[in-house]
Each structure stands twice: as structure tokens, then as C-alpha cells.
């Protein structure tokens, strides 16, 4: 064996023994193995803790301040005289709805942005949330609108809007820019229908619908907590399970199919889960603007991953809504603004920046 051959062999031996620089930590247990991205776990933990802290603060402040210690005692089941009503009935459900809705919007946004392969593909930009809002307003105006009816209406409205957008954008498959443009158009059309319905409705219904339409956590009760957390409990795990298919679809339909992914059923399932998450979020708190839109990109930046950050986006979404709601309550206190106005303040500049950038690079 010549020296050259020997050195080549040693070199390849080194490569063979070194660790593959794979992303994610492999956890093995008996025959099972899971690849877990530790940085994603860390991001979720930190964002989650901040959310809890902001949530507690949010429960404590207000026209009738309650010390944090009393808030915690109340949550642990030892309420004081005043805190029971204010925490248990007024402020805790509000924060819980905020967290749940933020998580639902965040997941939905991350799913659609990955499917459409464009950050503009989030459900609040491409008309799905407007569809859900139309469904919910219809329920409020026509049948009075219990929280269950509003949920069903929102779900139906969201699914119909999604179907409409996909059908109109379909041209031998779906192209991102067509979907986004058609979605924005459908969103405007739906908003016009909502406006029309509002002008024709009873004044009491109109007031209720109007507050709800800007996206508000005002006066949320345990009914809304139930809607959104039940949705998360069922749809959240489904979204996590489907992340694998979502990552493969990111390679293009043909490559995904060649890797054994059932492309059409997977896409359909992802769209349904994404729409349902967004629609039930809308049912609980109205179409809070831009939460779905900003959460995915923020989460992806924090985790620094090429994959869709579905779970981290849920945590980021929850934090965004809780912070925005705290700001909405306190900025002009005692007047409380709808949370949607605050999220729009964050989301609108980002949207403008993204539009100019994509227009310049020709991505849209």
C-alpha cells in the first residue's frame, strides 16, 4: 500500500467515525426514536415563561389592581374576597382566551406559510379569517349566536372561504402568488359582505358584531376558553403529527411524492387543520389581525430553522396576543382598545416591508 493510499484511507476513516452534523437531537427508547430540535425546545420554554409572566401581570393590573401574590394564590385555589370574581370571572378567562387564540393563529399561520411557501400566505392575509368572521357574524345576526353557534359558523365560513380561494386560484395546480392575490381579493369581497350584513342588522347585534370584528378579548368568558382550548387540544397534536409531511412537501410536490408522501391527502389534511385552527380562533376572539402573519416568521427566526416552526409559532403567537392585549388595556387606560388594533400596529409595518421586498425581488 502506498503512502498516498494509506493517507486516503485514514482520512475516510476519520469521516466515517465522526458525528454527522445533523440538526436535532436523537432521542432513542427501545425501538423508538425521535429527532428533537433542542433550540426549538429552548425557544418554546423561554417564550412560554415570558407569556406566563406577562399573563400574570395582565391579571394583576387594571382599574382594580390585585397584587401578583394574590393572583397566584387565587390561581392556586386560595382566593381573597375581591380576587375571586375579578380574577376567576373577568381577567383569567380573558388571558386564557388570549393565549389559546394566539397559539391557534400562530400554528395556522406557520402551516399555511409553509404550504404556500410564502410568508404572505397566512390565513389572515388570504381571506380565511374574513370567511370565518362572515360565518360568525351571520350566526350573530341571523340566529342570535350562542358561542357554539358562532363557532360552527366561523368554522363553516373559514372552510368555505378556503375552498373558494383554492378553487379560484387553481390553474393546473396551485401557485403561491396566484393564491395570495386571489386570497386578498376574496378577503376584500367577504369584508364587503360583512359590512352589508352589519348595516342591515339590528342595532344591538351590530354593536356586538362590531367589537368582535376588530378582534377583541373584552368580556371573554369561560365559554370562549372552552372553544379555543378544545380546538387546540384536538388540532394541536394533529398539526404536530403532520409537520413531517409538511417538511417533505417543502421539497416540491414531485420530490415529496418520490419520498413516499401522499401529496394530495396530506395537503388537504394540513389545509383543513390550518383552517379549523384559524376559524376557531376567530370564533373565540374575532379576526385579530396579523397574529398568524407575524408569528411564523418570528418563530422561524428565533429557532433559526429551515423547517416550518409550527410549535414555536404557537408559543410566539400566544405571547404576541397577551402582550398586545395588555398594551390595548393600559395604553389609553381607563379606555380599553380592542386587541386587534395593537396587533395591527405591529403587523401592518411588517406587511408593508414584506410587500416592498417581495415586489423588488420579484417573488410576488
Amino acid at each position: 500500500m502506498t503512502t498516498l493510499e494509506r493517507s486516503v484511507e485514514v482520512e475516510s476513516g476519520d469521516l466515517a467515525s465522526s458525528e454527522l452534523p445533523l440538526r436535532g437531537h436523537v432521542i432513542r427508547l427501545r425501538g423508538f426514536s425521535v429527532r428533537l430540535d433542542l433550540r426549538a425546545v429552548a425557544v418554546c420554554a423561554v417564550v412560554g415563561m415570558i407569556t406566563v409572566a406577562v399573563g400574570l401581570w395582565s391579571i394583576s393590573v387594571g382599574d382594580f389592581p390585585i397584587p401578583i401574590s394574590d393572583v397566584i394564590a387565587t390561581l392556586l385555589g386560595n382566593p381573597t374576597e375581591d380576587s375571586e370574581f375579578i380574577v376567576g370571572t373577568l381577567r383569567l378567562p380573558r388571558v386564557l382566551v388570549g393565549v389559546g387564540v394566539g397559539a391557534a393563529f400562530g400554528m395556522s399561520g406557520a402551516i399555511f406559510q409553509a404550504l404556500v411557501r410564502n410568508p404572505l400566505g397566512s390565513p389572515d392575509i388570504i381571506g380565511f379569517n374574513s370567511g370565518a368572521a362572515l360565518g360568525a357574524v351571520t350566526m350573530i345576526v341571523v340566529v342570535g349566536g350562542s358561542s357554539f353557534q358562532v363557532s360552527v359558523g366561523a368554522l363553516a365560513g373559514g372552510v368555505i372561504a378556503a375552498l373558494l380561494v383554492y378553487l379560484l386560484a387553481w390553474k393546473r395546480g396551485i401557485q403561491a402568488y396566484r393564491l395570495v392575490l386571489v386570497g386578498i381579493g376574496v378577503g376584500f369581497a367577504i369584508t364587503a359582505v360583512i359590512d352589508y350584513m352589519v348595516t342591515r342588522a339590528e342595532i344591538n347585534d351590530v354593536q356586538r358584531a362590531a367589537v368582535w370584528l376588530t378582534g377583541s378579548l373584552n368580556g371573554r368568558s369561560w365559554d370562549e376558553v372552552r372553544i379555543v382550548w378544545l380546538a387546540l387540544l384536538v388540532l394541536g397534536p394533529l398539526a404536530i403529527l403532520m409537520q413531517r409531511a409538511l417538511d417533505r412537501l417543502d421539497l416540491g410536490d414531485d420530490t415529496a411524492a418520490a419520498l413516499g408522501v401522499r401529496v394530495s391527502p396530506s395537503k388537504l389534511a394540513l389545509v383543513l387543520v390550518g383552517v379549523a385552527l384559524a376559524a376557531l380562533g376567530v370564533a373565540a376572539a374575532g379576526p385579530i389581525a396579523f397574529v398568524a402573519f407575524v408569528s411564523g416568521p418570528i418563530a422561524r427566526r428565533l429557532v433559526n430553522t429551515p423547517r416550518a416552526a409550527v410549535v414555536p409559532a404557537a408559543f410566539v403567537g400566544a405571547l404576541v396576543v397577551v402582550v398586545a392585549d395588555l398594551a390595548a388595556r393600559r395604553v389609553l387606560a381607563p379606555t380599553e382598545l380592542p386587541v386587534g388594533i395593537m396587533t395591527a400596529l405591529i403587523g401592518a409595518p411588517y406587511l408593508l416591508w414584506l410587500l416592498t421586498r417581495q415586489a423588488r425581488t420579484g417573488a410576488l
Binding site: L15, L20, R35, R244, D250, A258, L259, G260
Partner: protein, 289 residues
Amino acid sequence: MIGEPPSTNGVHPDARSSRLRADHVRLAYDEHVVVQELDLAIPDGQITVIVGPNACGKSTLLRALARLLKPSSGEVILDGELIHRLPTKEVARRLGLLPQTPIAPQGILVVDLVARGRTPHQRLFQQWSDEDERAVRAALTATDTMDLADRPVDELSGGQRQRVWIAMALAQETGLLLLDEPTTFLDIAHQVEILDLVDRLNHEEGRTVVLVLHDLNLACRYAHNLVAMVDGRIHGVGAPEEIITNDTVEEVFGLPCVVVPDPLSGTPMIVPHDTRASARTDPARTERS
């Protein structure tokens, strides 16, 4: 199905047998028929190259062979079974395909992209086995991309990127490998590099490879079995020496030419007639007419 290994790299003892074949397939997008009544058997353990002019249906045929397109009539048979009756994942364990323009997610590392090739061998709670590790390592080594493993795919050159995509398809560890124009956008040196890699995969690992290629001379050099297509039909199938003649090239590509033996490999080499105005007195042309 009897006696067929589900996903092996082994060369079949009988070189004429075919794990993959198309029977009377008719392929269409919506109403637009691309391929009519086509029969083709892919010989095991060989390199089959499909050539033909643009829009003759080569890529469409490849997509149908890989189960990405359902024939409007006729059947594609894999290991004696109708390919459209097999589960997607089962097909993916036996047959790998690299599409013409695959998309790399922004920022993905080479090793993570290659690892995605393991998808059909993984389950929800079996996301990374020793077998996966070994296969990815082997794929990186075979394509000479181990050094690139921790680099983002976006930053690679065209030739490197193509090798990485092939590595992903290799990690799938399928006996059949279908590559749609793997040399497009590459300069001549990188084209040869990719085709040498393909030849090595066939020669050393016994994989059956089907390629769509544009360069006829390279196709002739690397193919054991050449398929010439025109207008959605097969014009001829066989060894390059049998298929590529002055007449076939003219009939298939509409290009008047002279076929001479490649000075190095002896395989057919196409020299187009000089059709420039300044070359009217070209000797070959005069001789021909």
C-alpha cells in the same frame, strides 16, 4: 408477487428481466395527450437513457414510471404489480426519483436534505435509526459530498448541489433510480462528473438507472440501453450503436448529421451538418446529396 426482493440493489442474474415496465400507457395532462400507447421495459441492472427533442414526452414518461402521473389508460408495472395499486411509501422504498427542478428549503443543510431521503424507511416514532445513519453516510461518501455535510445547500455551486440531490435519492436505497435531466445547467466537466457518478452507482452497486438526457453524445457513451422518443412515441430502443444512425437522428431531432465513432469510447458521436450560409460547400453535405 413471487420471488422479487422488495428493495434490493442486486443485479438480476437474467439481464433481460425488468422490474419496471410500461404497458400500453397513454399519458395526458387534462385533455392534452402527451404519450400514446407506449410500451417500454427497463432492463434490470443497466443504465437506460431516454433521449428525444423538447416536449416529446420524456419527462412525462419518467413521471409515469415513478407513479407521479397516473396513465389515462394502460399500466405501469413494478415488480409484477400495478404501480398505482401499491402504497406511495412502498413504491418509494423500491424506486427513487429526482425531478428536474427540485426545491431546497431555504437554509437547509446538506446533511439534513440528504437525510430526508430516508423518509420512506421511517415511521412517526422511528425518526432516526442506525440504518438511517449508515445510509446517509454511504450516500454522502458515494457522491463525495461528506465535506459539504454541514454547509447550507443555498451556498453550493450547481455541480455540488446536483450531487447533493443525487445523494438524497441514494439515501433512499432503492434498486431503481430515475433521474430527470440531472445534468441540466451544468458545465461540461460537471456533466461528466455526474454521469461518472451514475455509472459508478450502476457498475459498483448494481442499481438500475433511468436517465433523461439532452446531450446525445454523452447519452451514447453512458447508456447500455437507449430509448429514442419523438412525439410521444418510441422511435427505437436498444444499444446506442444500433439506435443512433444518421437517419434516426434526422428523424427524431430533425437534424441532418453524420454519426462517427467516439474517438475515445467508440460509441456513436453525432456531428451536425454545418448549415451555416458560409459553409454551403461542406464536403459531407455534397457527398450526401
